[in-house]
Amino acid sequence: MPFIIRRLVFYLVAAWVALTANFFIPRAMPGNAVEDIMSKFPSLQPSAYKALEAMLGVGHPGSIWHQYWSYLDDVFHFNFGTDVVEYPARVSTLLFETIPWTLTLVGSATIIAFVLGTGLGIISGWRHGGWLDRVLPGLMFFQAIPYFFLALILVEVLAITVHIFPLGQGYAGGLIPGWHWAFIGSAIYHSLLPAFTIVVTSVAGWMLQMRNVMITTIGEDYVLAGQAKGLPNRRVVFTYAARNALLPQLQGFGLALGFVVSGAIVMEIVFSYPGIGLLLLNAVTSNDYPLMQAIFLVITFTVLLANLIVDLIIVFVDPRARAREAAR
């Protein structure tokens, strides 16, 4: 069975665990959305309970297995029920409105940070003890800053004190979203500061990891052999050392992704960015359970998908993996 198929099976298991947790958490925890509404509107008669359940799609008719299957069916069809707060709106509609914003911002910023951090890690690993090593503790400080706190500082300095960047939002007010330059330009302009926040806070982590793997790789015999052959330094660094150091780095990328995405989503709140973060904040503050559940699933599935892509890249980058695939 090819490696990628095996990984796919693993992610399917992970997705199933997430789905199942999502199904059982509301049933295991006390309190629910219906009771929440009932307590908010004391004038409601107890007979309204069933009606509310049916309306929100949170009623539990039938056996637990029956519920489980209909739940899986709903998720499969993107049916996450009706939103409690913005009542007639479907949860899936709210998600489709916000996902593109978050995906574009967090996705591109994470890729930039990863490429930049890996590049810096190659340099600082090769020039061990050079100037990049000296600024390392400073970078660790940025790594330890919560994403949203750096966002607060940047907004304070660059948007409020010096009016270089907008205060927040995804695009300038008054513009109608669409594929025209005024809107796209404004959206890019508004995303610069949030993207910068993600890059600054996550670049040190990638760099540190790459540096450590580079230093270990440079100690290998084949790197010494490359130098002994008189190869130019650039070839030794990139083709011999960095290429091999990249594999553990990519492995780490998959695992750190969830962390970066979580941080970025909280950061979006500071910028009032129209992404999933703000939706999550609204869901939490108003006890909007169907929305919280849907957001959890969407983020988890996105991270799993990104992990699968990383696996594909690993197979593509690692000739040993390809050879082993062929031998299988």
Binding site: M1, P137, A144, I145, V155, N212, G254, V261, V284, M292
Partner: protein, 361 residues
């Protein structure tokens, strides 16, 4: 640029082991800096709440004290409702560190239990526990934490600690399992088994003491995770908002528009405290890494022998000596993991001997 190679080095100088490796002065500079920085915050957490100038929750009704910039009376200014930021900060550091340390202890204990159990039981249970920790590693923690805490009826310190601990063990468990598997096959374990030591005695007196550095690193990482997660959770309002932690101060600052009102003294100190505690922990962890892997040290700690700058050439400690022996089901389950692709030596070493069972080809 060329790398100076230790060709002319005196072999005696190379093999000489530092006699006082455990001493403070021999610690990597990063570990020292981290310890000192962390010490300052621990001290603040211990004595802070006793020396707060004001009650952190006391809302001074005087309008002149609303959003007052730092002054002699209020060293870090006041909030919109006239509360003293410094007092909140001192109490907040205590609460945040308390939570993080408890989560660190509980989650690390869980990861030691799971890791050692998996390595010792082997077979089906090992596969199940490994699969479980791998699954929980790829599922992003924060959205799951939000979901769990969102459904809890009351929000406070205890539920947050429980939920953070329950989700904080997989990384440590994975590392500790690998290390336990490696140690288990060493000779001294075989020797103690021969002398009739029981499994529990071997685990508690032979295995665990050999994993102290790993457990410590795992603890530091977990504390870091707990601080980050608890502050982020409080920031979006999933905490007891009547208590003062670094996260709840930031929550109130954000929700009462401290940023828009230009009240930097309100949100900068708590955020800076989080960042500095985090930096201290990262420094500590990197320092411990360098202690274990001397190659990672920076130039200042690299020995100079005969005028040549010499990177310690000791082999890097390797977790697993050879290919771990796996049962048929275990190797099948392992082939689903990402590391199976990168494990070249174990694959090729095993292949000629016996075709790998499990999984159709």
């Amino acid at each position: 640029m060329t790398v100076t190679l230790p060709v002319t080095a005196d072999p005696a100088a190379l093999t000489e082991t530092p006699k006082d490796a455990g001493r403070w002065s021999r610690l990597p500079a990063k570990a020292k800096a981290g310890t000192i920085l962390l010490g300052v915050f621990i001290l603040a957490a211990i004595i802070g709440p006793m020396v707060t100038p004001y009650d952190p929750s006391y809302q001074n009704p005087s309008p002149s004290l609303s959003l007052q910039a730092p002054s002699a009376a209020h060293l870090l200014g006041t909030t919109q409702s006239g509360q003293d930021v410094l007092s909140q900060l001192l109490v907040g550091i205590r609460l945040t560190l308390e939570l993080a340390v408890i989560v660190g202890v509980v989650a690390t204990a869980l990861s030691v239990i799971v890791g050692v159990t998996a390595a010792f039981l082997g077979g089906f249970w090992d596969d199940l526990l490994s699969l479980l920790s791998n699954v929980f590693l790829v599922i992003p923690a924060l959205p799951l934490l939000i979901l769990l805490l969102g459904y809890l009826p009351q929000r406070g310190q205890a539920p947050t600690i429980i939920v953070l601990s329950v989700l904080g063990w997989p990384w440590g468990a994975r590392v500790i399992r690998a290390q336990t598997l490696a140690i288990r096959n060493r000779d001294f374990i075989a020797a103690s088994r021969e002398t009739g030591e029981g499994t529990w005695r071997i685990i508690t007196f032979e295995i665990i003491p050999n994993e102290v550095s790993l457990i410590a690193a795992s603890f530091v990482n977990t504390v870091l995770y707990a601080i980050g997660a608890s502050v982020a959770l409080a920031f979006i309002g999933l905490a007891d908002l009547n208590s003062w932690s670094l996260g709840t101060i930031l929550y109130w600052a954000q929700s009462q528009q401290a940023l828009q009102l230009g009240a930097w003294w309100w949100f900068v100190p708590p955020g800076l405290a989080v960042a500095l505690i985090g930096t201290a922990l990262v420094l500590l962890n990197t320092g411990m890494d360098e202690l274990g892997n001397p190659r990672l040290r920076d130039a200042s700690s690299v020995a100079k022998i005969g005028g040549h700058r010499l990177h310690p050439a000791d082999p890097t400690p390797v977790l697993q000596g050879g290919a771990p022996r796996r049962s048929a089901f275990a190797s099948f389950a392992h082939s689903f993991s990402r590391s199976s692709l990168l494990e070249e030596r174990s694959q090729s070493a095993r292949k000629p001997a016996a075709p790998q069972p499990g999984g159709e080809r």
